[in-house]
């Protein structure tokens, strides 16, 4: 459960990355959140940003399924 939680929190992290590196140098430290923010809010490509942030969803669904699997087994 803790693993699932921390996976989701890490993949969906924003503020640490943004404050420390802004996704740079040369886009080397972007996560989904920072890239989506850069494209959608700063760049004005709302659709592209939304598409990028939607890529967090598979991770989320996977993590939730794993956690349910183990919860049910207990």
């Amino acid at each position: 459960m803790v693993t699932v939680f921390s996976t989701i929190m890490t993949v969906g992290d924003f503020q640490l990355i943004w404050i420390i590196t802004h996704g740079g140098p040369a886009n080397a430290t972007h996560l989904f959140g920072t890239l989506a923010y850069q494209r959608a809010i700063q760049g004005g490509f709302i659709g592209e940003g939304a598409a990028i942030s939607a890529f967090v969803l598979p991770v989320l669904v996977g993590a939730v399924m794993v956690s349910f699997h183990y919860l049910r087994r207990e």
Binding site: I19, A36, Y37, L60
Partner: protein, 278 residues
């Protein structure tokens, strides 16, 4: 006797102190950096953890050359507003899911938990659009309305656990004596669940105080920002981190939260460890 004292020192106090030092070290560094003059700050050959010329110039710059006062005011207003809004919803939601036992209440409980797992990174673009349509751009109301998206699930989940620990018989007694559901909630459950509600309150307040992404996206003018966003956007100019004012701001920004924690600390621990004694 002496031996047990030694053992307790080794197994209890030593790890405790190590932990304490580890946890407090960042705050110490923050404090030292906030009072070191710039000449020392940007000279890495000096000892970074001590200063012989403490100065208040960074605090002066923070308070008089930036919009720190409005930031503090905004953050306070937003955190309080969002917390009150979220908790007033969460108390009813938690009570309903935990006590009314209608069909599907278990599923709703799990669904509430799952919605807490959805990170803000997914939600900020759709929410930005909604905020725009509502005409709330750059206003505190934008954040007061969006913070409950993660505060309500969180507080509901916490309160559900706490309500569960309160014996249902107490409520049944009141019901037999003719109290309505609302009266039971007000006169029996809420007073008993006060520690749980207080800890939910403190957690919600801290979460909204620290929130960064929504605040960064929904607020744009300098005067309307919150403390975390204001510090990070106005005091990091390009690649130059103005460490002194930054740390001074971080220090002053964490004071209100620390105050609230110390004020409620007893209730808060009781709320975490839960369990009313029967």
């Amino acid at each position: 006797m002496r031996r047990s004292a030694l053992t307790s020192t080794l197994t209890f106090y030593l790890p405790l102190w190590a932990f304490l030092v580890l946890l407090l070290f960042p705050f110490y560094w923050m404090l030292v950096t906030a009072v070191r003059p710039n000449k020392e700050l940007y000279n890495l050959s000096l000892n970074q953890l001590w200063t012989s010329h403490p100065t208040l110039q960074h605090f002066q710059k923070l308070l008089f050359a930036t919009h720190f006062a409005p930031w503090l005011q905004n953050t306070m207003l937003i955190a309080l507003g969002a917390t009150v809004l979220a908790l007033s919803c969460a108390v009813f939601a938690a009570y309903a899911v935990q006590r009314l036992r209608f069909r599907g209440s278990g599923v709703i409980g799990v669904a509430i938990f799952l919605s807490y797992l959805v990170p803000p990174v997914i939600l900020f673009i759709p929410l930005a659009r909604i905020i725009n349509e509502l005409g709330l751009w750059d206003r505190p109301a934008a954040l007061i309305l969006t913070y409950p998206t993660f505060l309500i699930p969180f507080a509901t989940w916490l309160l559900m656990g706490y309500f569960k620990s309160i014996p249902v018989e107490l409520e049944d007694c009141a019901r037999i004596d003719g109290a309505t559901r609302v009266q039971v909630l007000r006169h029996i459950l809420l007073p008993l669940a006060l520690p749980g509600i207080l800890s939910a309150l403190i957690f919600s307040f801290t979460l909204s105080w620290n929130e960064y992404l929504y605040a960064l996206v929904f607020l744009s003018s300098t005067g309307s920002k919150t403390i975390p966003v204001g510090l990070a956007t106005e005091l990091i100019t390009g690649d130059v981190f103005q460490w002194g004012p930054l740390m001074a701001g971080a220090l002053l920004g964490s004071v209100p939260v620390a105050l609230i924690y110390s004020f409620f600390v007893e209730h808060y621990v009781a709320g975490l460890t839960g369990a009313l004694k029967e």
